[in-house]
Amino acid sequence: MGAVGIGGLAIGGSVLAACGDDEEDASGAKESIKAAWVYIGPPDDNGWTQEHDRGRLAAQAALGDRLETSFVPNIEFDAGTTETFQQLVDDGNDIIFANTEYAGLLTEVSDNAPDTKFCEINGHYYSDNLFPFYLAHETTAYQLGVAAGHLTENGRIGYIGAFPTATAFNDVNGLLLGARSVNPDATVETVLVSTFFDPQKAAQAANALLDAGVGFLFGVMDEPTFLQLSEEAGVWTGYWNLDFRSAAPTKYVSHFDLSEFGPFYTEQCQRVLDGTWVSQDEVWLLDTPIGDFGPNVPQDVQDAVLDVGAQLDSGELHVYEGPLNDNEGNQRLAAGETLDSLQAYAIDWPVEGVSGISPV
């Protein structure tokens, strides 16, 4: 269905910027540049893509006339995606950001466009003009897990995932280990729906988990349907992307704060302007603090979560600290071993206590 998605190109920013486009001095610095964003969903999804678009607008506001931005929404995984990237290169964009991992659909273009810079979220490909960026969210999941451990009596956490990738593993592992730090019997029950954006599937997964009796429901969905269903069922819930307490006014716990996209996009565009942009050889991880708490989260729970957050920040506490087994009983970390965020970015196993998802 991707082919019939909205292919409109929205142009933001100043028209004046187009004038000084390719003037480049000896140092490689430019008077003005064009940047484009390729979005998996619509920029008004009240979720993932909306946060990226806020980041785009923040970069636009910071760099003013020197930056001309545009975006293409609803780009799914098909041959048309490659065409979209090629079109953006041909349109003279200096840097292109992708808000999902398009992998080969993107690199086919980036490898043949050495003068254009690319940043791909959650990507796994590195070249002279492309590097991945992502969020260090296992710590945020851990904090949410601590909250869930305090708030639920049965310690049962439901998780709606998309695919069995590091994103899902870091979510479920963080939730479980955080919850177990409070309640040693805590579990995480996972349903994978093979999509980030399909409210019908998300609703069915949410209903299945709520019917099964979970006490806290979280997910990596790009839209807030499951929050509404949690609220109706009287079950605590949280959100990945932004503050969405309006969907669950009384049962809202917190969210992952993604407001680092704006500073990241601004910095990358600034580097292109200055002629100092260089590719990276490891993923660029953004801080992902936990967001504001919902109105009914008790103060002592909030304090406990923030305290854990401070310990994680200072390095006093680690999300992944051995001994740890995966959920098939194999030891993955020996006593005393830890994983940092860069290592967690490559994780491919769920910890013991997580069900519904298996090691890759």
Partner: protein, 328 residues
């Protein structure tokens, strides 16, 4: 013990399958109405989108506070699209397949465009489940079938019963079938083939639109692009599986719905297959509804192949064939 587990599994599946495939049921009934009078409307996918997006607009932009009224608005929008389709294929005798495909793609595109700025916004105007209370409370076996919202009962019980009665027990139904089987004969006895075909195409489109409206007014209370996501095509398959009989459409829709529910229910309840890891299982299960749909439409086809052609499982003889009085 084993029996209790199976019963429990079956009930939890059916309990979530019923609302999940109400949209398929409504669209299948809509498609069947048109096909009974010889009009094949492949545009179900687009009609679901149009019905859904206009219900969303009614609630979010026009301040409609009744889910019934919002659904009616969605139905009327789909009916307008159905009227355009019907005029093209019945009055102008354009190819039903091509115009239907255009309606499918155009309807998806139109509804996505109209849905811009409404994505993900929660809808508060919802159908509420009927609570019969009394003995039905706390009864697992019965609660799977009750405690749904009223549209579910209209889709699974009301419409099939009415349609069965009209089709098989009234003169009007005989005429309908005549228009679909042998329009020249119907024409000869004074039935307006053009009029009937247009009327039932529009009514069918409105019912499919009701399916789309139901999605956003109950099942998933929010708009999202490409909302039908294949349910319109499944509805067309259900009509074939059902052999154009309303009662069998209920079975077909529930079969599909159970497979959809199995995807999430099996994962949430930890039902697994011994040779498949939990992650692989999720991919396998999301494929299952479409495999089962494919197998289901092969059953009537297979019966025909084996020479067991039952009259009532065959497609209306004049399906998708434009009627022209001059050419009869």
């Amino acid at each position: 013990m084993i029996l209790a587990i199976i019963e429990n599994a079956f009930l939890s599946l059916i309990g979530s399958a019923i609302p999940a495939s109400a949209v398929v049921m409504l669209a299948a009934t809509g498609a069947m109405l048109g096909e009974r009078v010889g009009v094949l409307n492949l545009g179900q996918e687009g009609l679901i989108g149009i019905g859904a997006v206009y219900s969303v607009i009614a609630v979010l932009s026009w301040g409609v506070e009744s889910p019934w009224l919002a659904m009616l608005i969605g139905m009327m929008a789909a009916a307008v699209a159905g009227l355009i389709f019907a005029v093209c294929v019945v009055a102008f005798r354009a190819s039903q397949v091509l115009v239907g495909l255009a309606l499918a793609l155009g309807g998806i595109g139109l509804s996505n465009q109209l849905g811009v700025n409404r994505n993900g916004t929660p809808i508060q105007t919802l159908f509420r489940e009927v609570n019969p209370g009394g003995v039905l409370d706390n009864n697992d076996a019965l609660s799977a079938f009750f405690f749904h919202d009223p549209v579910v009962y209209i889709a699974y019980v009301g419409l099939p019963v009415v349609l069965y009665f009209v089709l098989f027990r009234t003169r009007h139904g005989m005429n309908m079938k005549a228009v679909g089987e042998n329009p020249a004969a119907a024409d000869a006895v004074g039935v307006s083939v053009t009029g009937w075909r247009i009327f039932y195409s529009v009514l069918g489109a409105a019912l499919t639109g009701a399916g789309g409206a139901y999605m956003v007014l109950s099942f998933t209370p929010t708009w999202s692009p490409d909302i039908a996501r294949g349910r319109g095509w499944v509805a067309l398959a259900v009509v074939i599986f059902a052999g154009w009989r309303p009662g069998w459409a209920v079975a077909g829709a529930l079969l599909y719905g159970s497979m959809i529910s199995l995807d999430t229910t099996a994962q949430a309840r930890g039902w697994g297959l011994p040779f498949m890891g939990a992650s692989d299982l999720s991919f396998f299960l999301s494929m299952l509804p479409y495999v089962v749909t494919l197998v289901a439409i092969l059953i009537p086809a297979g019966a025909v192949k084996l020479g067991r052609r039952v009259r009532s499982t065959a497609a209306p003889a004049a399906l998708a064939i434009p009627y022209s009085r001059e050419e009869r």
